[in-house]
């Protein structure tokens, strides 16, 4: 590989402590998990496949919040199979928030780019090389996966879910004019220092947290690129979008509207 030849020709002193040559990028995937025993091996397999096929330097950081279903044991097996330089286990005792999971994960990340995504197979790693391509193309600080533009779409949503999703997105676009088509999406690539800065500034939880990240990013004049993605919802029959969630989403949206 070209990158290996580069690292051999540069004197050791010029390589940074994390083993990266000056021109080589490394991508750290943060995977917060809770009860993902079934999906974790599959998502890791897909990630490894995507990265290896594209010759990308990567690491996967699994942040398990004390899952009772044995997620941690599966993660340990994966670490043995793929190596502890590629699979990093950084678990926590109990279920804490997503924001703190990112902070915790980033402390151990040696990449200069961070990828956040869901571990339940709704986000497909095959889009990651496209995120990277897009980032290079426009030198973006953030690349966000969008379900609402281009080829983007979803699978497994009924009419009611689609209406709520499009309706909420419409209101969000009108009120916040965010410059990104999918604000509640959580499949994104960030420059490490950008993610660190944004997490410091964000105060919301849940869907609104992801929205706030983009809104704050625009405030700080960071650039956001978009890549259409397909979102495969496999959680059948379970109502993930109850009245409570909608109410807290609206509250969060109005707070952002009034404060940014």
């Amino acid at each position: 590989m070209a990158s290996m030849e580069m690292s051999r020709s540069l004197p050791r002193s010029r390589r940074d402590p994390e083993g990266r040559t000056p021109r080589q990028d490394k991508f750290s995937v943060l995977l917060p998990t809770y009860n993902e025993r079934e999906n974790l091996p599959l998502i890791v397999w897909l990630l490894v496949k995507s990265f290896t096929e594209s010759g990308i330097n990567y690491e996967i950081i699994i942040i398990d919040d004390g899952s009772p279903d044995g997620t941690r044991e599966v993660a340990e097996q994966l670490e043995k199979i793929y190596g502890s330089d590629k699979i990093l286990l950084r678990p926590r005792e109990k279920k804490l928030g997503l924001g703190t999971a990112y902070i915790h994960g980033m402390k151990h990340a040696t990449g200069n780019y961070i990828i956040i995504m869901d571990a339940d197979l709704s986000h497909h790693p095959k889009f990651i090389p496209e995120f990277i391509r897009k980032q290079k193309e426009g030198n973006f600080d953030i690349v966000s996966g969008t379900r609402y533009k281009g080829n983007g779409g979803v699978y497994g949503w009924d009419l009611k879910r689609k209406i709520i999703s499009r309706g909420a997105n419409f209101i969000t676009q009108i009120l916040l004019r965010p410059g990104a088509s999918d604000l509640t999406g959580s499949f994104r690539l960030y420059r490490k220092e950008v993610l660190q800065k944004l997490i410091e500034k964000c105060v919301s939880k849940g869907y609104v947290f992801q929205m706030e990240m983009i809104v704050r990013a625009r405030q700080l004049n960071y650039t956001v690129g978009e890549v259409p993605i397909s979102f495969v919802d496999r959680v059948y029959g379970e109502s993930k979008l109850g009245g409570n969630e909608i109410v807290s989403f609206l509250k969060g949206l109005l707070t952002l509207f009034a404060t940014t």
């Binding site: 897909l46 199979i81 699978y155 997105n169 404060t259």
Partner: protein, 93 residues
């Protein structure tokens, strides 16, 4: 300026313009009757138009919301492949 502030400013600007024009006679501005007849219900008309536009846009977007059948199928195949490969590598599910 927050988005809320921008909206309030915009509404205040439009609102005061409309109020000034519709209260023409009292402020000494004489507009032809036809103008005033249109101007007076304008906010209500605009609200209805905007409402229809919003419903139409959301309706259109829901109707054209892309259903990723292929992605779901591809994922199913890859899951089978992954399970087989991982079992070979020694993973105990």
């Amino acid at each position: 300026m927050t988005k809320l502030a921008q909206w309030l400013w915009g509404l205040a600007l439009l609102g005061s313009t409309w109020a000034a024009l519709t209260m023409g006679p009292t402020l000494g501005l004489e507009l032809p009757l036809t103008c005033r007849e249109v101007l007076w219900p304008l906010p209500a008309y605009l609200l209805v138009t905007v409402g229809c536009f919003a419903l139409g846009t959301v309706g259109y977007r829901v109707a054209t919301f892309h259903d990723c059948e292929d992605a779901a199928l591809e994922l199913q195949t890859q899951i089978q492949e992954a399970r087989a490969d991982l079992a070979r590598k020694g993973l105990r599910f």
